[in-house]
């Protein structure tokens, strides 16, 4: 099957400041990929390149097309939500439906209306009269009704409360996602989306520092809380991160044999948030991407 996104050596600078330094990506169909990194790591730059919104160096194919020169064709099959504030404030809900229905060949108006009927959004309202959460619901209603192959979400739930964030991702999974579709999402709220992701990519200082399927995460990384007395032996195995949790050391290992670790204490699969902190913190161990490791 052909990759949805294929990038080789993406690079981009803003003036003297490099934003991307050789990013490689390979996203297969039917995946939900989380692109995760601290502020200024280059997430939005990657996304803008994928969507053909900004220039870059390197090779990039999205659905087999070059977003620099074939953006117009691409937008028939790619959808994105840039962040919560981009629906124009003067737009009426009914106008939004009329417009998208009129210009998008893959828009299913009935589906969008059904979704909106479950919310408190009235069709005669203007965007400026809606709460932040409702604006996102409206945007989601429009996007979910578009039969796109790739959906890109850049901080889609920024500034929303927990209830809206939760229902946003629930709707995304239940009403939208299927084997034919691919979702690329960036967010700061890692904990909330890690259970829906199939793949996770960490980006830092314009470079990919981790790129792994979620189901391989547990094979590669392990969190160990060593039994008292085993702490020094555990440290000798060179954890990539060590933290104190309730007075006990919690160590994160990359690529250690699970049986070996289990002999030293309690082992579990680390959360994405744990990994994020371990890899991204200043002086944190740079994990290699799985391809490099292989």
């Amino acid at each position: 099957m052909t990759a949805i996104i294929e990038a080789r050596g993406l690079a981009k600078s803003y003036g003297d400041t490099p934003a991307l330094r050789g990013v490689d990506l390979n996203v297969e169909p039917g995946r939900i990929v989380g692109l995760i990194g601290p502020n200024g790591a280059g997430k939005t730059t990657v996304i803008k390149a994928i969507l053909g919104l900004s220039s870059f160096d390197g090779e990039l194919k999205v659905l087999g097309r070059d977003p620099r020169t074939q953006r117009n064709e691409l937008m028939n099959e790619v959808c994105f939500i840039a962040d919560v504030a981009v629906l124009p404030r003067w737009l009426k809900v009914s106008q939004a439906l009329d417009f998208v229905a009129g210009v998008h060949p893959r828009f299913d108006r009935k589906k969008a209306e059904e979704f909106l009927a479950k919310t408190d959004i009235r069709s005669d309202r203007r965007v400026r009269q809606l709460s932040k959460g409702m604006v996102t619901q409206l945007h989601l209603a429009l996007i979910l009704a578009i039969d796109a192959r790739l959906l890109v979400l850049d901080e889609p739930t920024l500034g929303l409360d927990l209830l809206f964030r939760r229902s946003f991702y629930d709707n995304l999974l239940n009403d939208y996602f299927d084997k034919e579709r691919t979702i690329l999402v960036t967010t700061h709220q890692v904990e909330e989306i890690e259970n829906i992701l199939t793949d996770v990519i960490f980006i830092q200082h314009g470079k990919i520092v981790l790129d792994t399927p979620m189901d391989a995460l547990g094979e590669r990384f392990a969190q160990l809380v060593p039994a008292t007395g085993n702490v020094e032996r555990a440290r000798a195995l060179r954890p990539i991160d060590e933290r104190d949790v309730f007075g006990r050391a919690a160590m994160l290992f990359d690529g250690r044999d699970r049986a070996e670790l289990e002999s030293l204490g309690e082992v579990r699969i680390p959360s994405v948030a744990d990994l994020f902190v371990a890899i991204m913190q200043p002086g944190g161990a740079p994990a290699m991407s799985q391809k490099e490791a292989a």
């Binding site: 994105f80 840039a82 504030a85 981009v86 003067w90 417009f99």
Partner: protein
């Protein structure tokens, strides 16, 4: 095509001043004119003159006055003043609405590609399968096609409303019959003249519209100043440093040059040839020279400049990355 229609409608959703402001302006024209017909003239006219159907019925005139008035009425009839009123009041109203529409369209053009970047809604529009060329051209079409046709329609409706008010008040009277009488041919000829003026105006103003659109896509802020200051500053600087006025003359020609170019000057209105100011619309229509504009090198250079600036505008919208 359906997409283009929807994109043009979208402009009127966002920029409601495009249709509300001209409607309000037409309303003001109607109310002020009706006030003149219904209150101002009756108050100041000599008693009985407005109701009279013959000169003889007018009270308080001596024989000489009566004779003079009778002659004036005959002259007016001879020169078809009643017809001229129908035609030229339409052109006057259309001119008032056109000037107002130019101001509204100016603000529309400098704002339309600027506000979508300011509120970042450009990211929403760009998430839809609409090319930058389609978007820019839809905005140009609003300024150069839809609004001018709207001006024509609104001018016609405004004048018909005003004529109806006038007719209801004065029909059957001497005053009403001499000054204004419905004349479809004259009215239609005026409509054709106005259409010719709009066509030439649109061709002439295309580069100006493209220039404002380009600034709207380009300016980071203060787009109004970017649009206005060069037009004022360049002629001033040239005057100060070179003591010449070429830039001013150039700008003047780009703004008003189509009027002499289509021979729509005094001679077209035959002022003075009839002894009184009663131009005939048929003669104006015959004098109007659309090809004088459409075939002029100035119009073609302008169109070429407009095309170049529209191309630049599309490129800026496509590749600008400041959202």
């Amino acid at each position: 095509m359906n997409t283009m229609v929807l994109m043009v409608r979208r402009e009127f959703w966002e920029h409601r001043s495009l249709w509300i402001a001209p409607l309000v302006w037409a309303g003001i024209i109607i109310v002020l004119s009706a006030w003149v017909f219904l209150f101002l003239i009756p108050r100041h006219a000599p008693a009985g003159i407005l109701e009279a159907t013959h000169v003889e019925e007018i009270q308080g005139l001596n024989a000489d006055d009566r004779k003079e008035l009778g002659q004036a009425i005959e002259t007016g009839k001879a020169h078809e003043v009643a017809n001229a009123t129908v035609s030229f009041s339409f052109l006057g109203i259309a001119l008032l609405i056109s000037i107002f529409a130019c101001i509204v369209v100016f603000f529309y053009l400098i704002d339309c590609l600027f506000s979508e970047r300011r509120d970042r809604s450009i990211l929403f529009w760009k998430s839809l399968p609409l090319s930058d060329a389609q978007t820019v051209l839809s905005k140009l079409a609003v300024a150069l096609v839809v609004v001018p046709l709207g001006v024509l329609a609104l001018g016609a409706v405004t004048q018909l409303v005003l004529f109806s008010i006038f007719w209801l008040r004065f029909h059957g009277t001497l005053f009403g019959n001499v000054l204004a009488d419905w004349n479809f041919v004259g009215w239609f000829q005026a409509l054709v003249v106005e259409l010719a003026i709009l066509l030439c105006g649109v061709v002439w103003y295309a580069p100006i519209a493209a220039y404002f659109l380009m600034l709207s896509a380009w300016a980071r802020k203060l787009v109004f100043l970017w649009a206005i200051v060069p037009l004022a500053a360049l002629p001033a600087l040239e005057g100060v440093f070179f003591q010449s006025k070429h830039v001013l003359e150039f700008i003047g020609r780009r703004f008003l040059g189509f009027i002499p170019a289509m021979h729509l000057d005094e001679s077209a209105f035959n002022m003075g040839n009839h002894g009184v100011a009663a131009p005939r619309i048929g003669e104006v229509l015959a004098a109007v020279d659309v090809s004088g504009v459409l075939l002029s090198s100035e119009a073609w250079l302008g169109m070429a400049a407009a095309a170049a600036m529209i191309y630049v505008t599309i490129r800026i919208r496509r590749y600008r990355d400041d959202s």
